[in-house]
């Protein structure tokens, strides 16, 4: 069986393309140089192109963590699907969480085509060998958390995802365009929940403010610590275009005014925009907390992984028989 879209570890890539790095007659050093020139010059890479191991690994790690985050991001909201207080909210939340599962599918497909089987990726996630985003390690206490997650966590995510629509890895870029299109409705749903609570009873408003206070720290940490642009290999390979700090600034400049507009407050007395530079200033986020949380020592890390392990085990028979997924041990070297 030939597999036309399969990847380097599975099959040799396009050898006769016009792109010089696909030419197997060249030395690997020469191919690397051609590839680097192509990518840093704005060129795109397809799954069937030859690519240096470093690039393949780097893209895979990036996409895999993104996929893991979509999958784990289902869990905080999932329990509220059952508790949504009206039929329309129930429908909207079910559809939103469904999209997250769908996005996990799209992203795992991209990663699978880079050579790592989905079962292996899920196994590594369950074993704690790979990571997922910090915001999905925290608990949800009230319906207001659902509004804050759907509006602001999704907004912070979409700021990052929009910057990935032009990724050098073309299958990822295409997927990000589909995901961004689908996610635009999530923010509307979240904002609608938030605005309804803001204009509701005193208790609803208090619950919302409380949720916002709890989520603000994780939101400020979400894009990661400030980094050196020139040392960032994801930027070098144009897998992503923007640094953590650029994304955070973008998020703050769009959403802080919209939060304040509703009469809500943010738990950072230092937070303000510098009028001269336009830059947002804030109390340094707690990077120690971020490191603790993303290494699966967050308040809900273990519980959520255990829940996912339990359900993965309970449905293993379906995959073994009807779906007959290739078993992990054999597949990935």
């Amino acid at each position: 069986m030939t597999d036309p879209l399969a990847l380097d570890p599975v099959l040799p890539a396009r050898e006769r393309s016009k792109l010089p790095f696909n030419d197997p007659a060249l030395t690997s050093d020469a191919r690397y140089r051609h590839f680097e020139e192509h990518v840093t010059g704005g060129g795109k890479v397809e799954a069937t192109d030859w690519m240096p191991d470093e690039y393949r690994t780097q893209v895979l790690r990036f996409v895999e963590m993104h996929a893991n985050s979509e999958l784990m991001g289902v869990l905080p909201e999932r329990e509220w699907i059952m508790r949504a207080p009206t039929l329309r909210r129930k429908l909207a939340l079910t559809a939103k969480v469904q999209d997250e599962v769908g996005h996990a599918q799209l992203l795992y497909r991209v990663a699978e085509d880079l050579g790592k089987p989905r079962e292996q990726m899920i196994q590594d996630l369950l074993d704690g060998k790979t990571k997922f985003h910090n915001v999905f390690h925290y608990p949800t206490f009230t319906w207001a958390d659902i509004g804050v997650i759907a509006w602001l966590v999704d907004a912070a995510a979409i700021v990052a995802q929009q910057a990935l629509r032009d990724s050098s890895y073309a299958p990822y870029a295409r997927t990000m365009r589909k995901i961004c299109w689908e996610e635009s409705v999530h923010i509307m749903h979240g904002r609608d929940v938030v605005v309804t609570l803001v204009t509701g009873t005193a208790a609803q408003r208090a619950a919302l403010q409380d949720a916002l206070n709890r989520w603000w720290g994780p939101l400020m940490q979400m894009h990661g610590p400030r980094g050196d642009r020139t040392k960032d290999r994801d930027i070098h390979w144009r897998i992503k275009a923007k640094t953590s700090d650029e994304l955070r600034q973008e998020f703050l400049s769009i959403y802080v005014p919209r939060i304040w507009e509703l009469g809500l407050t943010l738990p950072d007395p230092e937070l303000h925009q510098d009028e001269a530079t336009g830059e947002w200033l804030f109390t340094e986020p707690d990077w120690q907390e971020l490191r603790t949380v993303v290494t699966n020592h967050g308040p809900k890390s273990e519980e959520r992984l255990a829940f996912r392990r339990m359900n993965w085990d309970r449905t293993q028979w379906v995959r073994d028989t009807i779906l007959a997924a290739p078993r992990v041990e054999a597949a990935f070297a």
């Binding site: 036309p4 006769r16 295409r174 997927t175 009807i322 779906l323 290739p326």
Partner: protein, 119 residues
């Protein structure tokens, strides 16, 4: 839709092989070309079609889907075959430059250049 689905032999043992990728092509509205949307994993054609529907039209964004086993796609990207190096300008409109010859012909006939665009 039932009639369009592949025959379901899912209950029999021989059809259950293993998960494999199926490529999905979608038509956004009547008259549009079929465009590649992405892929799904499925153990057989019937479930592949179900999953294609879920992944590529759950927002009613398609009017037609084609679902093809990836292994059944024949890939051709050989530049010798697709981008052959010799001159093919005689196959393209841009390969025919006759402005000067036309001007000479008009001068010869004494007629003006017709209005409007034509080939």
């Amino acid at each position: 839709m039932t009639d369009q689905l592949p025959a379901d032999r899912g209950g029999t043992a021989e059809s259950a092989t293993s998960l494999e990728p199926w490529e999905v092509f979608r038509q956004e509205k009547e008259g549009d070309p079929m465009r590649h949307g992405g892929s799904v994993m499925a153990p057989d054609a019937v479930l592949a079609v179900h999953y294609a529907r879920e992944m590529y039209s759950r927002r009613q964004e398609s009017v037609r889907l084609w679902v093809v086993r990836r292994a059944d796609i024949h890939d051709l990207d050989d530049p010798d075959l697709l981008q052959p190096p010799m001159d093919r300008s005689f196959k393209k409109p841009g390969g025919y430059v006759m402005r000067e010859k036309l001007a000479a012909a008009r001068e010869q006939s004494g007629r003006a250049k017709p209005k409007g665009k034509a080939k």
